[in-house]
């Protein structure tokens, strides 16, 4: 569903992503981990079509994001780390806007948008302007907009920042449901506990290079960590070793 092949992205002399190879299958929840500045957000921006790769290829649901961007984007949904939305639209209008852009039939929009507002506890404020929404409310609205369009690939960059505990729980359940419906979920996160519990596979990126990947169990084994050690211990061990080798 997501296929990244020898992906390189440079900014001047700086290689933000350096020869990345990845494959995320339908129904999989892939946790993309790494320290600040490792190349996670750059990778997810290339996957979503916001940035173009310097070299290498990225395909989403069989469509090359660089050569066939419209078709690829029709299959994916992306939620950035900062949930910027149009401040002068209401939540209802924003959802209708997304629905119209993705050609979701009007009857379906009118039926499902109120359901989604109910699910995310936005019904009471759905006719207010988004400029009055908090960070968490905007995040919930964006997640609701993803559910409206039922994409084959979902890209999240730090999806739970700003969400209240109840919404985080609901979000985790939804991730599982989306994957069960056959979507490939690609998620950048710093919350290692969530990645350990939710992700079917994780990848650790450092200095633009993928330094570990596999199931949590496989990554632990590769790092020679005990079964009782947490993903956080493994992450710190791997990234510190990598840093030491680079220096």
């Amino acid at each position: 569903m997501i296929k990244i092949d020898k992906l390189v992205k440079t900014f001047g002399d700086f290689r933000a992503v350096d020869g990345l190879d990845l494959h995320v299958k339908p129904g999989e929840i892939f946790g993309f981990l790494g320290p600040n500045g490792a190349g996670k957000t750059t990778t997810v921006k290339i996957l979503s079509g916001i940035m173009r790769p310097t070299s290498g290829t990225v395909s989403v649901a069989g469509f090359d994001i660089d050569r066939n961007p419209e078709e690829a984007k029709r299959q994916l949904a992306y939620i950035p780390d900062e949930p910027f939305v149009y401040p002068k639209l209401t939540a209802w209008e924003f959802m209708r806007f997304i629905g119209d852009i993705y050609r979701i039939p009007e009857e379906e929009q009118r039926r499902r948008i109120p359901e989604l507002f109910e699910l995310f506890e936005l019904s009471g404020v759905s006719d207010g302007l988004l400029e009055g929404y908090s960070h968490g409310m905007k995040q919930k609205l964006l997640i609701a907009s993803v559910l409206l369009r039922r994409p084959k690939v979902v890209l999240f960059d730090e999806p739970t920042v700003g969400l209240d505990p109840k919404s985080i729980r609901r979000f985790k359940n939804l991730l599982g449901e989306m994957a069960a419906d056959g979507a490939a979920v690609f998620m950048c996160t710093h919350i290692l506990d969530m990645a350990e519990k939710l992700c079917t596979e994780v990848g650790i990126i450092s200095g633009g290079k993928l330094i570990a990947r596999g199931t949590v169990k496989e990554v632990k084994a590769a790092a020679h960590s005990g079964a009782d050690s947490s993903l956080e211990d493994v992450f710190l061990k791997i990234t510190e070793t990598e840093n030491a080798e680079n220096h």
């Binding site: 979503s48 916001i50 940035m51 173009r52 910027f84 149009y86 806007f97 852009i101 050609r103 009055g132």
Partner: protein
Amino acid sequence: MLKIIEMIRILARNKLKSAYNNMHSVRGWELVKTAALGFAGLMLLVIMYFGFHKVLKYLEEVQLIGPILSWKLTGMLLLMMFAMIIVSSIIISMTTLYYSFDLKFLFSCPLPRRAVFMDKAADTVVYSSWTLVVAILPFVLALQHVKHLDYGFAGVYLLLMIPFVMLAGAFGIFFSLIIMYAFPSSKTRDVTWVLGSLSVAFVYVMFRFAEPEKLLHPDSMQIIAQYINYLQAPTAPYFPSWWVTKAMMAWSSSNYKVFAEFAGLLAGSAAAVYAFMAWVCDFFYMRGFNGAQGSPRFRGKRSKFIEQKLIAFAPSLNIPLSLYWKDRLMVLRDAKYWSQIILIFALVSVYLFSIKQLPLDTPSVKNFICFLNITTAGFVVAAIGLRFTFPAVSMEGNCWWLMRSTPVKLETVMLEKLLVSLPSAMVIGLLLITVSNYILEADMFVSVLSTVSIIFITTGVTAMGIGFGGIFPDFRIENIHKLESSYGGFFYMVAAMAYLTLIVGIEAWPVQVHYMGGFSGPWPRWRVAGVVLCTVGFILVNFLAVWLPWRAGVKNLYRHE
């Protein structure tokens, strides 16, 4: 009290340091641009000086009443300036006092509220008055020269301006304090902006419609005694503008006692007003500030937009139509747009009134002015485009990620932005040309030529605006005015001017032929060739003016990261 003064001193020092660092960080192209703009501004002031000098010299030489006339004009000018600073300070204080980016930080610091308030009040006074003080300086220098005074006169003007602008600004600040105290909501700012713009537009239109040029023709007043009475009557005697006028008059006649009286009145009033404001601000300010932090109460309706109804008939147009209704709502709900649209309508009214007042009598001169009017109207459309069309792409701002991650072609985004801007630009362009043609009784040839030209020119400069907006996007911009003075804005205006010059240059020949005998009768070969050449040139220039920036804009947006 001493603590407050100390804190104000620290805040002021911080501002001066920031300004100093800003000036010293200007390098390269930014330095060239600043120097060019500075030079252009200086030239404008020099031109204004010579204009004022001519008027004042003429007035001064009018027998008996000459010296009174020039002081009367000074009084009127200062009264106008006083009114403009009040209106500006109302609009500006709404932002500086309640929405400045650093307010939350300042309130989190151990600063007395009064110090924060006084700091923001000082910002309001400076921002709302400095351009006017500079703009009136050429008048004062011309007055000084005409009345054979030394440079101390200009120095006195600058000194008197300090309490004068403080008093004018205090009106606006106090108005904001009261209105935000009574209606502590962010909606109040929007309403004030619109009302403030209406006031500015009203003052501007009224001033022009009052035909100030008639002051230069004393003979136009029926009874000369009435005219002299009018001149001798003080212009708003209880307003600080008259106190400044009296102080300047006293200084010019070396009557220092009267000067000290009026200067003292100004300084004393300013000190008293600010002491009073510092005393009451604690009571008024925080309630307004707290209210301003809330989001406006707004309940949108869930009715179907006309564009959504159209999508049902043309599903393939879902993307441009969705983008269109989104942008339409964004514009309609933004008070800043409304306030500027009001000012544009004032500008258009004054433009047409000035055309009506032109002292033209012969049909050929009128027709010639109609032809030249194509360039002026085109310039107005381009200038409005610099404010509305050029920033349209950048106005997507932080939400640009949505355009890039959804299945939307960037050509479609640009086309939709063009469709949003073009109708209003076309209305303004056509209004300026057709009404001017009607007023000046243009003949059929010039009427058709100018109308067709403005349709092409409006489309051209609007498409250029979108194209240049794509070449120079800035999605992180906080203040839209910064875009207008950016490199992109500069290049857009240069390109628009070059385009207008080419179009008028191409059209000059057929207009000349029309004047020299018209296109009637049999056409010789050279005339046919000329018309063909001009038509091809016209089409080619229009095509290139649209296509080149458009293509470069699309390419750049796809590359933009």
